[in-house]
Amino acid sequence: MTSNDDSRANGEESMKTAKAQVAKASGKVSPSSLADVAANRLQSQTANTVGSTGLEARSIHAWFGKKHVLEDISLDFYTGTVTALIGPSGCGKSTFIRILNRMHEFIPTASLAGEVFLDGKDVYEPGVDVTKIRLRIGMVFQKPNPFPSMTIKENVLSGLKLAQLKMNNQEELLESCLRRAGLWDEVKDRLDEYGGALSGGQQQRLCIARSLAVNPQVLLMDEPCSALDPGSTLRIEETIRELSSSMSIVIVTHNMQQAARVSDYTGFFLSDGGPGRLVEVGSTSQIFSNPKEQRTEDYVSGRFG
């Protein structure tokens, strides 16, 4: 598979938009232009931004061994919104989102303080079924990781099989997940091929489709586009926008334009050698146009980091 089969009309069109938007975005990066992007984004999404608090993090601290990596992070994530977490590498953004769906505990040296509430219930309470938590809080990783021994179809439905959930209307679910992930038109004729045969961007959308199949309330995305070309990135951003109406999405990104384009709220993490802290959180347009903290302004305008 050398070409990524984007040559179909639909794909071509999106590539054009992608190129146009990238050309626009990769022009001069000044805070005002990012703020414009964010403002446009917010206008188009105002209908969705009102939602209930689905997921809340309360004074989260995290350690690896004796190293304190996160200090006192409290954040609310509203249903129907996208929250972007930005900040330089190593400031604990990924650790933070891994705490939200209890993936943090797989690192042997990890420890934690604080609470994470999902619909008002603490996910770290003893006796809580971890697998149920992870079913409700899906995750998309930095590197596309489709299961190599499964076909595209099996990959999408794997979440249900792994969690031993009942499956009604397999075909319907398969199509709706792939459609929501923006992949259906590209793979509808090759559902029985192996996931590894797809291009990187398609693989990542396959992973998104896989997360959607178990119908999560929250979708955590850990730099989902960092390994992808601009065209695939734009496709995934479109996907994120479409999905955000029905769930709460948390996206970690190093790409300011991306944060400005897709998110309703932005949190800025920073570590000054010590543990990572949440410097500022607010609506995306406010963070990019009128940040309260000098450090936020310096970061979003590209003066450091």
Partner: protein, 351 residues
């Protein structure tokens, strides 16, 4: 779109031209001729003398040719290249020599009849057309298959404990598996002999032989599986767990299918380790000349046992039978490998 017609043809410009190869060809010729001369003139005689002189001359000549044409670095490169080729030859020559000898000495007795008869009604000095080795073949199949059935789950589960569960005793288990791979095969035989026969009062049978072989097979299967499982990218595990799967479901549905071909290789290597073992079988299966279809009771034979017995009988027919046994054992192991490779092919896994 306009088609551009041009006269460009695919080429490999990095390949040396014939003209540039001349020094190498001359060098090789010179090496061969000078070796022949040296062997003819000096007291170095025979194949061994020829081989030694050839090795020394090829190192010297190739280094000199490169050194004169280029520089010191090229000369050193040529020296190491020749050394590497010689080392590979040293590995390959004995292998092919063994295969050649087995075929040369064993092929004479090969006929359809040997796969249908046993030795119960044939004396050891009767011609090879009489009797056969079906009893040994059946014995080997029983012993190897039972040993695989015993050791594959234990070996793979042990490797899963080390790599996936990462339990508190993972290091200890790994240490003991490594120690176990150093067990001499006769000790494994004696262990089963002491426990199964002396302590528990059983007599010789194929299951006892399988037990002894399983002891030898487990460390090979476990260590190879461990290496294979370590190669599975950790993000696949995380992806499974993040989808709300339990660890067991992740291992069973994602890790094992992804590692399937490697795990099959682990079992193959285990079989290769034990298929030719003779010493533990001497103490456990007892040996027989007749077919014994019951692996749980009564003496049985096995291919290595058949070879050992016939070779120790010493008459020309028996020694021919021994070589025939070696040939058949080799073919059986080859068929085992091919089948396992065929069924263990992994689908769709691309690197």
């Amino acid at each position: 779109m306009t088609q551009v017609i041009s006269q460009v043809s695919p080429q490999k410009p990095w390949r040396p031209k014939l003209k540039n190869l001349l020094p190498e060809v001359l060098g090789a010729l010179f090496t061969a001729v000078s070796t022949l001369l040296i062997v003819a003139v000096t007291p170095l005689k025979g194949k061994l003398g020829f081989a030694i002189v050839l090795i020394i001359m090829s190192i010297v000549v190739s280094s000199l040719v490169s050194g004169i044409r280029r520089d010191k670095k090229a000369a050193l490169n040529s020296t190491t290249t020749v050394l590497v080729y010689i080392a590979s030859a040293f590995v390959i020559i004995p292998l092919f020599s063994i295969l050649y000898e087995i075929f040369r000495l064993g092929i004479g007795g090969l006929s359809f009849g040997i796969f249908t008869k046993d030795m119960s009604l044939t004396s050891s000095d009767s011609p090879l057309t009489e009797g056969g080795l079906l009893h040994a073949l059946i014995g080997t199949l029983y012993v190897v298959v039972l040993a695989s059935i015993l050791s594959t789950p234990v070996g793979i589960l042990a490797s899963l404990y080390i790599v996936e569960v990462k339990g508190r005793f993972a290091g200890l288990v790994r240490f003991f598996i490594q120690a176990m791979s150093g067990i001499p095969s006769i000790v494994a035989g004696l262990f089963i002999y002491a426990i199964w026969m002396i302590n528990m009062g059983n007599s010789y049978n194929a299951v006892a032989g399988a037990g002894a072989l399983a002891i030898l097979m487990i460390p090979t299967v476990a260590r190879t599986s461990e290496e294979v499982l370590k190669l599975i990218p950790p993000d696949l595990r995380e992806a499974g767990l993040a989808l709300g799967a339990t660890q067991w479901r992740t291992v069973a549905m994602i890790i094992i299918p992804a590692a399937k071909s490697g795990l099959v290789t682990a079992v193959i290597l285990g079989i290769a380790r034990v298929a030719g073992e003779t010493a533990p079988l001497l103490l456990t299966i007892g040996g027989a000349d007749a077919i014994n279809l019951n692996p749980f009771s009564g003496n049985s034979s096995a291919m290595p046992y058949y070879v050992w017995k016939n070779y120790s009988l010493g008459n020309p027919e028996s020694i021919s039978r021994a070589w025939l046994g070696v040939l058949v054992l080799m073919i059986v192991v080859f068929i085992f490998f091919s089948l396992a490779r065929f069924f263990g092919r992994s689908k769709g896994v691309k690197k």
